[in-house]
Amino acid sequence: MGVKLLLEKANVPGIRSYDVYRREGGYTTAEKALKEMSIEAIVEEVKKSGLRGRGGAGFPAGMKWSFIAKPEGLPRHLVCNADESEPGTFKDRYLMEFLPHLLIEGLLISSFALGSNDTYIYIRGEYAWVATILEEAIAEATKNGFLGKNILGTGFDCRIHVHRGAGAYICGEETALIESLEGKRGNPRIKPPFPAIQGVWMRPTVVNNVETLAAIVPIIKMGGEEYAKIGVGRSTGTKLISACGNINKPGVYEIDMTISVEDFIYSDEYCGGIANGKKLKACIPGGSSVPILPANLLLKTAKGETRYMNYESLSDGGFATGSMMGSGGFIVLDEDQCIVKNTLTLARFYRHESCGQCSPCREGTGWMEKIIQKIELGKGEISDIDLLWDIQRKIEGNTICPLGDAAAWPVAAAIRHFRDEFEWHITNRELSQTSNFGLQHYADPIHVPA
């Protein structure tokens, strides 16, 4: 069993309620932070912890906090990014649904450290019932003096507001989220200015992911140095992984980032192996936008070393032979899955979610979807593969926000590692409509079911 810092109490009956959370030691860390620690000391602990943003980009949270501008007379805001929309990712939902008070305690400590008297949780609109759970938890915390005016007699006021989005993946990008919070279309802003200087309502703003803010509680509780001892290298602490696809035990798991990818997929404590006795074909290890890896490159790096579930190891080999930790959305594909079809659904997703502001993304995502659809329907040409490659290359890096990159990478990786499957679809027009390319040489070479 690995270390559990976030989900340790997830199975305690009634932990969703204030009373049980408090009885289990909840809000004692907030008391420690607000009563015994200075703002500087809290920020210092977060820096020492090495905590990296858990939304996908992995930017050091303490450093992000230290950028916030503090001009006289201008309110500052903390915004919790709960717009979880990256396909394969459902970890924040789990945290909010089952441990709402852990998030609120993290928000309270973070709001205190950043000087935010009005903190917002921007939650994706579809998580309507989760928004209700959060509102109830906020009401309980307010009733018990952990939110509201003069919290714990410190003179610090804090209100937390739940703001429901309305269906737009792009609002997970922090400047699009801010626009949306202002009641506008979710069009990302050009940076600079960064939100830390001019964010929501042109006020200094920090936007952090749900899991990042929940992790503030164990960091302050145990101290940044102790937290940093868990994990390996720059992958400190624990990470929530939402595992899905063709595995025996889909779900949300907390790992300490020292576990191998092989153990994560095959051990009974985590995914429990590939479902229905099938073989592993491929995996998208960090949410739909990170590169897909064939089984042989997933379990071992190109150098033949064991690959681990952490930021450095998952990206070992760069995009040529590696992938990314991303959001922790771990999508497993078995031998029956068609890479062309899978890539088509992702290309459609990004076309649907492009905000339309930048032409490379607005036009390019639509072109990619059409070309992959053509190949999937058995009407492709061999030259279409190079055309796809060309389009994705011209989207990447040429847009205001990372959605362009996120749309380009899955297509690039699918062609990079599975070009022969695309070719097979094109040269076997009729056969590809009724049967599957299958595994060919992509199978996991280690685990071969009888």
Binding site: S85, W129, H161, H163, A166, G167, Y169, N246, H352
Partner: protein, 167 residues
């Protein structure tokens, strides 16, 4: 004008607007549009958008551009129950194609259509963050997960019963 919030809905409107700083009432637009859609039969006619613009003291165009951007706002009438079935990667590899085909067959409609009796609408949507519980769909404010053909039948029967009970 026929579309108007009742007293309870007006109280909710005030609560929503109070979350944002003075003069920044436009920030309440997304939540208020949810409230309007829930209050006015599950969709947003132009009349409703104009009404919201007036309530928030903003131009109607500011409401239209938002209502057309976000996928949860319905700009056309929908059935009493909207089946929003996820079709993105993780759901697809978990068998959503079969579920979508089965729902189409059972309801006799294509994606984007509403049954003649106005009870069901079928929509295909992108990732709803339930990938570990796939295949799945959203119906109103709840998620229906781990869908199988049997479960789809039971869900359809359940909503039909609700309609009968209300009539």
């Amino acid at each position: 004008m026929s579309l108007q919030f009742n007293n309870e809905q007006m109280t909710e409107l005030k609560r929503l607007v109070s979350r944002y700083p003075e003069g920044k009432q436009k920030s309440a637009l997304l939540p208020v549009l949810h409230l309007a859609q829930d209050s006015f039969g599950g969709w947003l006619p132009t009349e409703a958008m104009d009404y919201v613009a007036g309530l928030l003291s903003i131009e109607p165009i500011e409401v239209y551009e938002v209502a057309t951007f976000y996928s949860m706002y319905n700009l056309k009438p929908v059935g009493k129950f909207v089946f929003e079935v996820c079709q993105t990667g993780p759901c697809m590899i978990s068998g959503s194609d079969n579920i979508i085909a089965y729902i189409q067959k059972q309801l006799g409609i294509q994606p984007g259509e509403t049954t003649k009796d106005g009870v069901f609408t079928l929509k295909l949507v992108e990732c709803l963050g339930a990938c570990g519980y796939a295949p799945m769909m959203q119906v109103g404010k709840v998620y229906r997960e781990h869908l199988t053909k049997e479960k789809v039948d039971a869900i359809i029967a359940e909503y039909r019963m609700q309609v009968i009970a209300q009539n």
